[in-house]
């Protein structure tokens, strides 16, 4: 996978930023983000569709001993994105959610949603979609990671859960010592 060398510092698609979800106008994003932080309702997604995306995201970065994508409110990042700068992706997302439901019903006859399935079945469906290179899988995986690690004003990374996950402190102002190896310098 390409890493961010100075030669390809803008080749960010493929390194965790969803290439199709994030071609945005700055004003749209800021306005959406400000609304996102207090919003409990969804601007674009239906509750049912949001539940599907949240279940998917929760398997990408699960809740275990520490918070995951659910607590990080990644689904609100996705909702805000689809309501504003990622309008062009609504069709692909709708198709992806439909696919999740179809595979859920096939795996567990009578199931009305992906979200209601037990975890192992959700993971099995996602692995199958990943193997089949279904475009929704990679887009939604990247959007989950991005939503969790971008600035909270975009709707995700609630309470800086994402930054705490990886150990990033947004102080933006540091002095020596920076890490363990220069502690004695």
């Amino acid at each position: 996978m390409p890493h961010l060398s100075r030669r390809d510092f803008l080749a960010i698609a493929g390194t965790g930023v969803a290439s199709v979800w994030l071609t945005a106008s700055t004003d749209d994003v800021i306005a959406a983000a400000r609304h996102a932080q207090t919003a409990q309702k969804f601007e674009y997604l239906t509750a049912a569709d949001a539940a599907e995306l949240e279940a998917f995201a929760e398997q990408i970065v699960p809740t275990d001993e520490t918070p995951g994508a659910r607590e990080g409110r990644v689904v609100y990042f996705m909702d805000k994105a689809l309501a504003t700068f990622a309008k062009d992706d609504r069709d692909n997302v709708a198709k992806g959610i439909k696919e999740l439901r179809a595979r859920a019903a096939k795996m567990q006859p009578g199931a009305k949603s992906f979200a209601e399935l037990p975890s192992e079945k959700q993971i099995a469906i996602m692995k199958a979609m990943e193997k089949a290179r279904h475009p929704f899988f990679e887009d939604a995986r990247q959007a989950t990671i991005t939503g969790l690690l971008a600035l909270p004003e975009y709707g995700g990374n609630y309470n800086k859960i994402g930054w705490k996950w990886i150990g990033f402190d947004d102080r933006f102002s540091w002095a020596a010592p920076f890490g363990w190896y220069d502690r004695d310098v």
Partner: protein, 559 residues
């Protein structure tokens, strides 16, 4: 003039002198970046009336946010591919496809606003490597028409007028004055590089950086925010031309900075002299600014594009292009990279990009049969949202194990940047796309590029050596990044090369176009060879030298 005693203390955006388009100013400078800012300062302080036309906006600290989505996906500080498309192909046998292939700073200060500020002088060998090591068939590998000694006084000007922090290293070329500022603290990554270098029998030394390590000339010292590469500096610690030479130029009251002015053509008369430039203002209205002379500093892609677009009866293959070389010999520098994970926290995200550097492979062993070489530094590339791309090969990309790995690795990862030379190949070019146009109707930049086979071997050598170095530093896990011919660059070099012979170069050794007496070109396009990875200091030294000489020629009525 403001109340402040130093021009650099003034607000970044100010009312500047304003010239009317029909006023024949002494110089129009196209581009306000690393080179354009320096030339503007040199010419305006010499007393000339100067208009700087910058295609992007004039930003201030308030615009320099730490928002990776705005910066990398929305091109906040750089060319926006939605309105300024690129096309790319490997060779001229293919049709170029529309895809992003280059990025440069689009705004006052140019790329110097968001660069990593890694900053060093070329060494003596860089200017004469072809005659020392031999030319290479199929390339334009040749000596510069100037030597390191010719440029040394101007490197020194850059040190002091732009502001560079560093300390003497074991392989330094000669210098006439010391660094104006001491080096930045080493960070954990610097300590690790020193340890690894020692084991390899190499010598790590402080990386020279164009970032204030102390308050300097009215600017704040760096606060080590960790968001240098790609981002603007909100404390003016990074020594961009926006916060150094541009304010000095503006304070002369002879230099107008005219942002949102996209130059589309340089006009000439029937005597083969430049008469001014046509540009689009912020409302896309076309305006003609008259000038006695023009200096093009638009970067190594936009400069040849502008010259190629400035055809006329006297210049049917583009302005200053009698040699046919405008746009050719495109170079990027090269890289052989590796990644390592360490036992304890390195916290690479804190602080400036690189603090220690190793140059023992500046000229690789002759036994390898390769020309060129480079160096190593340890850095940490990804901002948080990009960090998933920095995990070891074959790592899980989602789920429980992925989550644990991200938590463990983010603060323990080091990216070893093996930066190298790359060869000037005449078929690697910037040209005008025959069909795709930008939002102003101007033919898009088409890049034709394939790395020379010997360069790919060089990059691979550096990836291997870098992995070895990381292990010598104590990495518990290390791996190489794949090496392949590139299709994207931020170093845009070589496309209007300097030389004594008008048949084999575009500009002479004072950056004057061979074919056009009152046209000068100085930016990354001027470079004959590309050095070992950091061209900006050399671009700025050339700009100081060109600026001084252009002023002299003008005073002698030799333009």
């Amino acid at each position: 003039m403001s109340d402040h005693t130093h021009p650099r203390l003034a607000p970044l955006q100010q009312a500047t002198v304003q010239y009317r388009p029909d006023d024949e100013v002494d110089f129009v400078i196209v581009g306000s970046g690393a080179a354009g800012g320096v030339v503007a300062k040199e010419l305006s302080t010499a007393g000339f009336r100067v208009v700087v036309l910058e295609q992007g906006p004039w930003r201030t600290e308030a615009d320099f946010v730490h928002d990776e989505l705005k910066v990398f996906r929305e091109s906040l500080l750089t060319n926006d591919w939605n309105v300024s498309p690129n096309t790319f192909r490997k060779t001229a046998k293919e049709k170029a496809k529309q895809q992003p292939c280059l990025a440069y700073g689009r705004g006052v200060g140019g790329t110097s606003v968001h660069f990593s500020a890694n900053f060093w002088r070329f060494k003596e060998i860089d200017f004469k490597e072809a005659s020392v090591k031999g030319t290479i068939a199929g390339t334009g590998f040749t000596d510069w028409p100037i030597t390191y000694q010719d440029l040394e006084p101007y490197y020194t000007k850059v040190d002091w007028e732009i502001g560079v922090a560093g300390a003497p290293g074991p392989y330094d070329p000669p210098r006439s004055r010391p660094y104006p500022m001491p080096p930045h603290p080493p960070k954990s990554m610097g300590v690790l590089l020193e340890a690894g270098a020692k084991k390899m029998g190499w010598k790590a030394f402080p990386a020279p950086m164009a970032i204030a390590s102390r308050p300097y000339q009215g600017r704040s010292a760096c606060v080590q925010c960790g968001f240098c590469l790609g981002f603007g500096c909100e404390v003016r610690g990074k020594s961009s031309s926006l916060v150094t030479v541009i304010p000095v130029a503006v304070a002369t009251k002879k230099c107008e900075i005219r942002p949102n002015s996209y130059v589309r053509k340089i006009e000439t008369n029937d005597k083969g002299r430049v008469t001014g430039v046509k540009y689009f203002d912020a409302e896309k209205k076309e305006i003609f600014q008259r000038a006695k002379a023009v200096v093009v500093c638009a970067n190594g892609a936009e400069t040849p594009r502008l010259l190629l677009n400035s055809k006329s009866n006297l210049f049917p293959q583009g302005l200053a292009n009698a040699s046919g070389l405008v746009g050719t010999h495109l170079m990027f520098n090269g890289a052989g990279n590796s990644v390592g994970v360490f036992e304890h926290e390195v916290n690479g995200y804190k602080g400036i990009v690189a603090t220690r550097i190793v140059w023992d492979l500046y000229e690789v062993d002759n036994k390898l049969g390769l020309v060129g070489g480079g160096g190593f530094d340890y850095r940490f590339d990804p901002t948080p949202a990009q960090s998933a791309g920095n995990l070891p090969p074959k790592s899980p990309t989602w789920g429980r194990e992925f989550k644990k790995l991200m938590a463990h690795n983010y603060n323990r990862t080091v990216n070893c940047f093996g930066h190298t030379s790359s060869l000037p190949v005449p078929t690697n070019t910037i040209s005008l796309d025959p069909t795709v146009k930008d939002a102003w109707g101007i033919p898009a930049i088409r890049m034709t590029f394939e790395d020379h086979p010997q360069d790919l071997k060089l990059y691979k050598h550096f990836a291997e050596k870098g992995e070895e170095l990381l292990k010598a530093s104590g990495a518990v896990q290390a791996w190489q990044q794949p090496v392949e011919s590139t299709n994207f660059s931020v170093h845009l070099l070589g496309t209007c090369r300097m030389g004594n012979d008008p048949r084999t170069s575009v500009v002479d050794k004072y950056n004057r176009a061979h074919d056009v007496k009152n046209l000068f070109v100085v930016d990354g396009s001027s470079l004959v060879t590309c050095g070992r990875g950091q061209p900006t200091m050399t671009i700025q030294a050339l700009a100081f030298r060109a600026g001084e000489n252009i002023a002299k020629f003008a005073k002698q009525h030799d333009i």
